[in-house]
């Protein structure tokens, strides 16, 4: 069965920073039968408030609206909204360990200007790359999956323009 890839949505929620909030939110999203693409949480500007960015895939506007309304129904959720892709910045960070010949790496580095965290003997690199998901995906593609040793990605965090 081929599954058509649906539109990626980012939902931003400001929530009370207390135990169980994440649990409650993730349970509701599971109940709505979504697989969370990425989920990032950090402290917000206001004390006792966390900022949560959730990405999931859905084409239907009304379904996304339902998720947001259900989120807002929780007493722990202060505010939730969808972030318009055109009107906001979506960024993530990846740390990637791979094995690549020096020459090939230098060519890549010209294109991407990644931060090198570690360059070990035997052509093993650990680099950090930040930016839109597409930039990281493109870097990984250029490295080539046969060269990967380990990949760590944060998932998307986002902000309105």
């Amino acid at each position: 069965m081929t599954v058509k890839k649906m539109k990626r949505r980012a939902i931003l929620a400001f929530v009370q920073d207390k135990p169980g909030t994440l649990n409650k939110i993730s349970m509701m999203i599971r109940r709505k039968m979504y697989n969370v693409d990425t989920l990032t949480v950090c402290k917000a500007k206001a004390a006792g408030v966390s900022r949560m960015t959730i990405t999931l895939r859905e084409d239907d506007e009304t379904k996304v609206l339902q998720v947001i309304r259900q989120l807002e129904k929780f007493t722990e959720v202060i505010r939730a909204k969808e972030l318009d892709r055109e009107q906001s910045y979506w960024r993530e960070v990846a740390i990637i360990k791979f094995e690549l010949e020096k020459k090939a790496f230098e060519k890549l580095q010209k294109k991407y200007q990644v931060e090198i965290l570690d360059a070990q003997p035997h052509d093993i690199y650990i680099v950090q790359i930040a930016g839109p998901t597409e930039r990281i995906d493109s870097f990984l593609k250029d490295v080539g999956s046969e060269h990967f040793i380990e990949i760590a990605r944060t998932g998307v965090t986002a902000m309105d323009k």
């Binding site: 169980g20 649990n23 339902q66 259900q70 807002e72 129904k73 007493t75």
Partner: protein, 576 residues
């Protein structure tokens, strides 16, 4: 003061009189303190599920009285709390305010798989409105007050407080103070929007004025906001017929000329056809459940929808609205009723069409009721309910269980008293009736309460007969015994080629059961015994069990098959 004293002080401050509870290791300290104080009437169920439904019954029945009470149930940790789950999930589906307090193992051993430990907060989180686990004694009183606020504000719902044993027995420090009068819960994310916006009300009024074929929907929100009388006034002023959801029943007299009776899967022909042909639906406090709408893409295709609902997440959830009014039903009706723009139209043609549809099933039903028995000479449930309705003049409180008899009770009792029908709708929990009727009777001691069950549901919480015996609760009990799980049997008859898988059911000898619980009993097999038996139960001062031997082949019609549209409505019984 100790945690136990603070819990009880808070409950007392919230006007709690009854506590439905079952003790155990982790909740003992609260029970001990309760025994010392003697401030509450303690009701012991014979299974924790009973406690949760008794609490529901109390909350629901007292809602329309001068002294609304919130049902409180208590259970110990682990299995005690787990046995509350069904009743809490049921209250959540039906938006019933309720507070459950469960004992939890001491904080020091939580998450070590201690004896009788369950992750109560983890289990309850998705099936209730809010969960709490206070970790210090200082938080206890505040938590209880907040729990009551959350349970009763906005859309009602059940709240669970899981209280570790050490938090119960520890004392607060000397500096502790709490003033319930000045306490306001800090809930930055709690959204409560009771007053309707002027703009949307204007739009709604304009649409109603324009509409030729409008229908009003009366949902649970009308009952919850005590707006039944106002809805009736509004319907009379605008000449708009009213269809009821299962939980909207009893908000206004069901034989009112503008009443269409119940809508949906087992709704009346007149209600469902009116919805099918309507150009405008004005829905008050309901959520367009699948049993109400049937197939969504065929539902009320020609109608604009005005949806008045306190819970914004219900707006546009199943049915797209033309005008969404996120507000309390009572307040919205109040504003609409006094809007100078509101026009009173005779709508003669539309009301004639509606009246014509009433006739579709009239003769068939009249024939069945007149006969009173099925093909095999056994009693028909609808005729028993209809007799009960006539004898009690439709004024009593009806607490059905879940299934075929429930739909009969929804359709054939002529509800006259506001808020007199307490059913399990969303969850459809068999076994709810007997305990829920106990709670309803405690809330309204001067009114007669009927618990009506099938033989299946009755056997699920039959143990609560002991609570009735112990408390001397005057609940009139009807068992409509057809030897089957009737509703499933009906589906098997209509859609599964009559294969009765898992539905035939043996009952115990209910006469001996009644005797064991020291309750009077009568078995009714013949039509001419029905009235006398009902009168005997009424005349007896105390609980009374009536067992009616019913026709298993009786079906509740009309019926819209599951997943079908209103056009698929089965109106008359297929000939076999």
């Amino acid at each position: 003061m100790k945690g136990t004293e603070l819990v009880l002080r808070a409950l007392h401050a919230k006007g709690v009189k009854y506590i439905f509870g079952y003790t155990g290791g982790a909740i003992m300290p609260i029970f001990d303190e309760m025994e010392k104080q003697k401030l509450f009437t303690f009701i012991m169920p014979r299974h924790e599920q009973g406690a949760s439904f008794m609490a529901q019954g109390l909350s629901r029945a007292s809602l329309s009285t001068d002294t609304p009470q919130i049902g409180v149930c208590m259970a110990t940790s682990g299995p005690g709390a787990m046995n509350l789950v069904t009743g809490i999930a049921d209250a959540h589906m039906d938006s019933v305010p309720m507070v459950s307090i469960t004992g939890q193992v001491a904080t020091g051993v939580i998450a070590t798989d201690a004896f009788q430990e369950s992750d109560v907060v983890g289990v309850m989180m998705p099936i209730c409105k809010q969960t709490y686990m206070p970790l210090t004694t200082e938080e206890v009183e505040k938590t209880v007050h907040e729990a009551f606020y959350v349970a009763t504000t906005g859309r009602f719902g059940p709240v669970v407080i899981d209280l570790p044993k050490d938090v119960q027995v520890q004392s607060v420090g000397e500096k502790y103070s709490f003033n319930p009068k000045t306490f306001r819960p800090k809930l930055p994310g709690f959204y409560y929007h009771p007053s309707p916006e002027r703009e949307v009300v204007h739009q709604a009024i304009e649409m109603m004025n324009r509409s030729e074929r409008p229908v009003m929907f009366c949902g649970h929100g009308v009952i919850s906001s005590n707006a039944g009388a106002m809805l009736q006034e509004f319907a009379e002023k605008t000449n708009i017929p009213v269809a009821f959801t299962l939980h909207g029943l009893s908000a206004m007299p069901v034989d009112h000329p503008l009443s269409l009776g119940m809508m949906g899967m087992h709704g009346t022909v007149e209600a469902n056809r009116a919805i099918m042909n309507a150009d405008l639906i004005i829905s008050f406090g309901m959520r367009f459940d699948d049993r109400v709408t049937g197939k969504l893409n065929e539902y009320a295709k020609n109608a604009d929808v005005i949806h008045v609902e306190i819970d914004p997440s219900e707006l546009d959830k199943n049915v797209a609205t033309t005008v969404a009014i996120n507000a309390d039903v009572y307040r919205t009706l109040h504003v609409m009723l006094h809007d100078p723009e509101l026009v009173s139209k005779p709508r003669r043609r539309w009301l004639k069409e509606v009246a014509d549809n009433r006739k579709v099933t009239l003769d068939g039903v009249a024939e069945e009721l007149a006969s009173g028995v099925g093909d095999d000479g056994k009693l028909l449930m609808k005729s028993i309910i209809s007799r009960l309705s006539d004898i009690t003049a439709g004024k009593d409180i009806i607490v059905p269980d879940v299934g075929q008899h429930q739909m009969m009770a929804a359709r054939f009792y002529n509800y006259q008293t506001n808020n007199s029908w307490f059913a399990s709708g969303g969850a459809g929990t068999m076994g709810c009736s007997l305990p829920m009727a106990i709670g309803a009777k405690l809330a309204r001691p001067d009114e007669r309460v009927w618990s009506i069950s099938g033989d299946g549901g009755f056997q699920m919480n039959m143990q609560e007969l002991c609570t009735i015996m112990e408390q001397g609760t005057d609940v009139k009990i009807m068992i409509l015994n057809n030897g089957y799980l009737g509703m499933v049997r009906q589906w098997q008859t209509l859609f599964f080629d009559g294969r009765y898988a898992g539905t035939p059911m043996t009952s115990p000898n209910y006469e001996l059961i009644a005797k064991a619980y020291d309750l009077p009993y009568q078995k009714v097999t013949d039509l001419d015994q029905v009235d006398a038996a009902i009168r005997a139960a009424i005349d007896h001062n105390g609980a009374y069990i009536l067992e009616f031997i019913c026709d298993p082949s009786e079906v509740i019609l009309p019926m819209i098959p599951s997943g079908g549209g209103f056009g698929d409505m089965i109106v008359s019984r297929p000939k076999s």
